[in-house]
């Protein structure tokens, strides 16, 4: 009898798998090396390591993070682009923003499509959606001919103002399907029927660029899983914190980018918040090279319509907003030309990794500093699987930081750590306090390999009273994936102000979107009773550029009061002001429906521990805390033995194979019924 739900997430270094029995709540985990460039071997290795038989698997939820890597490493399909004639500059032009203020030698990374492979088709739709210039089909055929001769694998099409009327894009697609049947074709209307020409084009290009990659990958995965013996359902996680069927993933491969951190936020951080009684959560994930921060308010993660994979590569389908900060365990500490200490954004990544890994890294990283400060246990990194070499960390820090200043290595390590914390707290503040959230009402849920090392200090810096470290912080995305519902976000442009609004049109559009969502869910095998449809609108003042995401209650909309009230409330919170009533009209920019197919979610079991605090105590060790003025004796606990509901005070370090939690003086920790480590600051 199949009983396990398996979550799988592929990272740059490790592939994580998590299996949970829906009935008994029994859990299994496996961490294996990732196997680029195919990656699917790693998945099968992991499945074998889990020690479950294929017939025991009831569902397989997969994070196809391969797409993000394909963009970063430029290994996507050779892609051609068709734009409205005369607008060939709009894709390579981007939004033009630069990265450094005064560094004129820096140039943005090259675009995914070269100007020479960008073609124009004579056509024009007006901003109101009328055809101004009919499509010149010969232009499309010419582009198709060039694409064939140039060996393109994918084609993206995006016309000006096409979000108001897709007729030309649809016809273009027909022609291309005839002319280039083997190429992966994406038109903007099917990916992102929204205003903003560059962002829409970028998302469309991304989808085309990833199409063939995703197709090969999924094909491979299905084969390998079948060989392993599994013929059941495979669902793929996406950027809005849900899953989709393989069919949908092949239509919208761009949706799989960014899915890994999002699975952790929605499936894990949100759930842990619920379990520990926090409706408001700051999710803070930190791995080797990056941190991702997301805000969950009243149980709902913040949604964004713009997320950047790279500088100038925006991806604008609805996503859970996670803000990337270039500072992780592998972030490098360095001195700039003015001999000031910087940490990151350059990172050592997995290979060669921090100096203390002994893989040939010579740069001083965050992880090296943590080791020198006694916070990391050289013999218990990854549960002892990866021995750390303190002498190498010492050497790197001495040469790169300590010697130039004439400091001791400890002083230098403390400096690296404090600079890193200062950076992180700024980034966190920008996502919370600066945007009108009062962090005293939030819990910081920290997971990933390295964030529990920083989390409590960071919470202290920002006055966040509670920090929670979930039971398996090193498997967040895999664990999170198992709890994700099927989810599809469908939007349609409306662009009507209050006075222009036709309620019939509004209701019909919403009904239409709901019907579409329902059809997809039905195709994915969801039962009617498990479906829910959340209607929403993107709202703004007419002459404002930014929109606000506002939920619309179910049923027919007959007046705008609820919608405008929610909009004004959001605006007031974030902006601190709203315009006088009647001054400018409110505009409904887009309508949307989030179609959810609820699945049975695995729950964490309540745990029972026989051990006492004393038995959980591994040793006492000298650990460096800035607030204690240097090294001080700290209790080192084994997380797996910490008894439930027994409080213990910092300074302390809690060790477990997938991470290390550091508790500074003045903090108190306790393991709750579900195995969460809950730390409060006095």
């Amino acid at each position: 009898m199949a009983k396990y739900i398996v979550g799988c997430d592929i990272g740059g270094t490790f592939t994580d798998l998590f299996a949970i029995d829906l009935d008994t709540k029994e859990q299994r985990i496996a961490k294996v090396l990732s196997t680029p460039p195919e990656y699917t071997n790693g998945v099968v290795n992991g499945l074998n390591k889990l020690g479950i038989s294929p017939s025991d698997v009831a569902g397989f939820k997969h994070g196809a993070t391969i797409s993000t890597n394909a963009v970063l490493q430029r290994r996507g399909a050779k892609t051609g682009l068709i734009l409205t004639e005369g607008f060939k500059g709009l894709f390579v032009g981007g939004r033009s923003e630069r990265m450094g203020a005064f560094e004129l030698n820096w140039d943005p990374p090259p675009f995914l499509v070269l100007p020479r492979d960008t073609f124009g088709a004579r056509e024009r739709i007006s901003p109101e959606g009328e055809v101004l210039t009919p499509l010149n089909e010969e232009d499309v055929r010419y582009a198709a001919r060039c694409f064939k001769k140039r060996g393109m694998q994918a084609i993206a099409v995006c016309y000006m103002d096409s979000y108001m009327n897709p007729v030309h894009e649809l016809r273009t697609k027909e022609i291309l399907q005839q002319e280039c049947p083997d190429m992966f074709i994406t038109i903007s209307y099917e990916v992102l029927p929204r205003m903003l020409e560059f962002e829409r084009t970028s998302t469309t290009v991304l989808n085309a660029y990833l199409g063939p990659v995703m197709y090969n990958y999924i094909d491979n995965l299905q084969k390998q899983l079948r060989e392993w013996g599994y013929n059941g359902e495979i669902v793929i996680t996406h950027s809005a914190g849900g899953t989709m069927s393989i069919d949908e993933a092949l239509k919208l491969p761009a949706r799989t980018t960014h899915s890994s951190p999002v699975s952790g936020v929605v499936g894990l951080a949100g759930y842990i918040g619920e379990l520990t009684g926090f409706n408001n959560v700051i999710a803070f994930e930190s791995g080797g090279t990056t941190n991702d921060v997301s805000v969950i308010h009243q149980g709902k993660p913040t949604i964004t319509m713009e997320w950047r994979i790279l500088w100038n590569v925006p991806y604008c389908m609805p996503s859970i907003e996670t803000v990337y900060i270039g500072a992780g365990g592998g972030s490098i500490a360095w001195l700039d030309t003015a001999k000031e200490i910087k940490v990151g954004p350059q990172s050592q990544g997995a290979d060669p990794g921090p100096a203390c890994f002994g893989h040939g890294g010579t740069e001083a990283t965050n992880t090296d500093a943590q080791l020198i400060l006694g916070r990391l246990n050289a013999k218990y990194f990854l549960g002892g699987e990866l021995p750390l070499y303190p002498e190498l960390a010492e050497k790197a820090i001495k040469e790169k930081i300590a010697d130039p200043f004439g400091w001791s290595v400890e002083q230098a390590a403390d400096a690296i750590y404090r600079v890193a914390i200062a950076n992180l707290s700024t980034a966190l503040r920008l996502q919370t306090v600066t945007r009108g959230w009062d962090v005293r009402d939030f819990a910081l849920v920290a997971y990933g390999g390295s964030s529990p090392m920083f989390a409590v200090d960071l919470a202290k810096e920002l006055n966040i009273p509670t920090t929670v470290i979930p039971p398996l912080p090193g498997y967040a995305s895999a664990v999170g994936a198992t709890r994700l519902d099927m989810r599809h976000d469908l939007t349609a442009p409306l662009h009507k102000t209050e006075s222009e609004l036709d309620f019939n049109e509004l209701n019909n559009t919403l009904d239409e979107l709901e019907k579409k969502g329902k059809a997809i869910l039905e195709k994915e095998g969801m039962a009617q009773k498990d479906m829910t449809f959340q209607r929403f609108a993107d709202v703004k003042y007419f002459n404002q550029s930014r929109t606000f995401h506002v939920d619309i209650p179910a049923g027919r909309v007959t007046d705008l009061k609820t919608i405008t009230d929610s909009f004004l409330k959001e605006m007031k919170r974030e902006y601190g002001y709203i315009l006088p009533t009647g001054y400018v009209e409110v505009e409904l920019v887009d309508l949307g429906v989030t179609a959810i197919g609820a699945v049975r979610k695995p729950e964490l079991a309540k745990i029972i521990r026989k051990e006492t605090l004393k038995e959980a105590l591994k040793e006492k060790r000298q650990v460096y805390f800035h607030e204690s003025g240097g090294f001080t004796e700290a209790a080192i606990y084994d997380r797996s033995k910490l008894p439930v509901n027994a409080a213990f005070d910092g300074p302390a370090v809690v060790e477990q194979p997938d991470t290390t939690t550091v508790m500074p003086p003045g903090s108190t920790g306790v393991i709750d019924d579900y195995g969460n480590l809950v730390i409060r600051i006095k």
Binding site: F87, G93, M99, G100, A101, N105, R116, E197, T434
Partner: protein
């Protein structure tokens, strides 16, 4: 005796101060109402000490603003002594002749009190899209005085005990267009000042006033020492460079305006003397003294990218001299709205030209030709759809400057405001009675050289109703300078109905030109200056440019001497005829490109500035310093 801080405490405090400004700027762009602030990022937040000295500013602020915050605040303090300030008071001004930049910049000076005393100021600057005057949007290229621009507000208390002083607000409201939304922007300014106030109190609580003060001094000492030590490596001497504005548009003669600077390097002392520049123009083109320092510092900081952000230590390490009554130090009652495309752009370019001379000997990868300038285009009229007045403010990217080791960037945002986003065309089409008909690189408009400048960009807009167009621009007659024998960048233009019998060049200072329904405006930005001899350009690079439509076949042949045969355009099969290329190049070597300061001519001063050696891209980029906000 000042307290010496350990480097870590210093670094953490320094980060916190910079973060405070970065947070302020980020908040401002999110919550200000007008898109010119949110997308154009035309706003600045700085911390200034109680003497008016600049502590730091936000990372993504435009370089036109923050160098003026020090001199500007000192002017405010002349009128309003610190001793008269009370907690909860805030001061407004936009007097650009004293503060710098132009009247659109509304400056909120917010004293931060700690334990009963003013410890520093938060200075929050926002570009108000309109501050009155005859022209919607306030930009007025034909203004002969500041009276023909917008309302001028001297430093004056606008907030008392955390309440806006109503009569004053009413006075300002009566003098600007769309006042309701302007006060929304101002409310955002206040909001940000409060946030910075709170953040500074936290820092004073945590570290104590003395420590914060010490960190500030240490920061300045450090920056000053670094500038001086780097300058001391520059060969001593006097270095001269010049540039020109197209015309004094409001005068009878429409003569060009010369900007001249002599930079003197002596040991670790660096002086810029702008005194020999032309007299103050009649029209709104010139810069007040603080504005000239802005252009000067922006140009100088390209040599020290690692020292970003600017602070008082850098400011005091450099001596900047301007002569009152010249275009670089305009006096009452000069207009200022044209400062950005006019005098400041030239100050920045001339500074680059001066610094490139010694730098070509010591840091050859840090010499820069001139780059595309900001041209401010406004379309105004009555929106037939709503029956209301509208003003659309449009700026466009253009050609970036070549580097001494690689090409310039196409679609490059003007250098002094690198964090500006271009406004989406589809959004403008929703708001205003216009429809875009084109957005493409203009082939062959780059500065020609071994490393070419970026191409200019053509934007085509069709009117969907009647209206008028005004442009505050420059660089139609004088291109951004080339270096080392590379040509100046191509010209910028504003044209009407190109390709029809009604075609007309409106000129780069067109003011209130009437537009009919269906008229097409061709807004063409200029190209960037090049580096090196065009005949040394790698023929393969020329072919790539032809494929990407940055360069035509004719230009490849006539300028670069590269003969290209298109075997199959559809298959992208382009071949170089090497024999023919060799012949062409030998012929062209006998016919050097014309010398001059015009578009695509070889700059007579610039051609003498050559990198002492050519670095590889790898070597040059190994010294690429991207100073980003903490946690970015």
């Amino acid at each position: 005796m000042r307290k010496e801080l350990d480097v870590i405490t210093y670094e953490v405090i320094k980060n916190s101060l910079v973060s405070c400004c970065h947070e302020g700027s980020t908040m401002l762009e999110k919550i200000a109402f007008h898109p010119v602030i949110g997308m154009g990022r035309d706003r600045t937040t700085s911390l200034v000490d109680r003497e008016g000295n600049l502590i730091c500013h936000g990372h993504t602020d435009p370089g036109a603003h923050y160098p003026t915050t020090e001199l500007g605040t000192k002017e405010v303090l002349k009128d309003i002594p610190v001793s008269s300030m009370k907690p909860g008071d805030g001061y407004i001004t936009n007097d650009s002749l004293r503060m710098g930049t132009h009247v659109n910049e509304i400056r909120l000076t917010w004293p931060i009190f700690y334990k009963g005393e003013v410890r520093c100021f938060a200075l929050v600057i926002v570009h108000w899209p309109d501050v009155g005057g005859p022209m919607p949007g306030t930009f007025n290229p034909r203004a002969k005085s500041s009276y023909a621009e917008g309302i001028r507000i001297p430093p004056i208390k606008i907030i008392e005990n955390n309440e806006i002083i109503e009569p004053l607000k009413n006075l300002i409201s009566l003098n600007v267009r769309t006042p309701v939304v302007r006060w929304c922007d101002f409310s955002a300014q206040i909001h940000v000042a409060h946030m910075m106030n709170d953040r500074m109190i936290e820092l004073f609580d945590k570290y104590g006033v003395e420590t914060i003060e010490a960190a500030k001094e240490q920061m300045w000492d450090y920056s000053e020492a670094t500038v001086r030590s780097m300058v001391s490596e520059w060969p001593d001497g006097e270095y001269y460079f010049e540039d020109f504005g197209d015309e004094d548009a409001a005068s009878k003669e429409h003569l060009p305006i010369a900007v001249r600077c002599t930079m003197t390097v002596k040991g670790d002392n660096l002086t810029f003397d702008w005194s020999a520049s032309d007299p103050q123009p009649v029209g709104s083109w010139g810069a007040s003294h603080p504005t000239t320092t802005a252009g000067n510092f922006v140009g100088l900081m390209y040599c020290f990218p690692g020292l970003f952000p600017l602070n008082h230590g850098i400011i005091r390490a450099v001596n900047i001299i301007t002569k009152p009554g010249t275009c670089m130090n305009v006096l009452e009652p000069a207009g200022t709205t044209g400062y950005c495309s006019g005098a400041m752009d030239k100050a920045e370019a001339v500074t680059c030209g001066c610094c490139a001379q010694p730098l070509s000997q010591v840091l050859p990868h840090r010499i820069y030709p001139g780059s595309v300038a900001l041209n401010n285009l406004t379309l105004g009229g009555v929106n037939p759809k709503s029956g209301r007045d509208f003003v659309d403010y449009i700026f466009r990217v253009g050609g970036g400057m070549a580097r001494s080791f690689k090409d310039g960037q196409d679609f490059f945002i003007f250098r002094f405001a690198p964090f500006t986003y271009t406004v989406p065309m589809e959004l403008e089409e929703r708001w205003f009675p216009i429809i875009y008909e084109g957005y493409e690189a203009r082939p062959d408009t780059m500065g020609h050289g071994k490393f070419r400048g970026g191409c200019g960009v053509r934007t085509v807009v069709r009117m969907r109703g009647e209206g008028e167009v005004t442009i505050h621009g420059d660089r139609e007659k004088f291109g951004p300078h080339g270096l080392g024998g590379g040509t100046n960048g191509g010209a910028a233009h504003l044209k009407l109905n190109v390709g029809t019998p009604q075609e007309r060049n409106l000129g780069i200072s067109a003011t209130g030109e009437p537009l009919g329904d269906g008229d097409r405006i061709f807004f063409e930005s200029g190209g960037g200056g090049a580096y090196g001899d065009r005949l040394e350009r790698d023929p393969q690079a020329v072919v790539e440019d032809v494929m990407d439509r940055y360069c035509t076949l004719e230009c490849a042949r006539d300028i670069y001497g590269v003969s290209i045969k298109i075997v199959d355009e559809e298959a992208l099969d382009y071949q170089i005829d090497w024999e023919e290329t060799k012949k062409l190049r030998a012929e062209l070597a006998k016919k050097p490109l014309p010398e001059g300061t015009g578009p695509q001519e070889v700059h007579p001063l610039g051609k003498k500035i050559k990198a002492i050696r050519e670095m590889s891209v790898e070597e040059a980029l190994s010294d690429c310093v991207l100073v980003r906000p903490p946690g970015w």
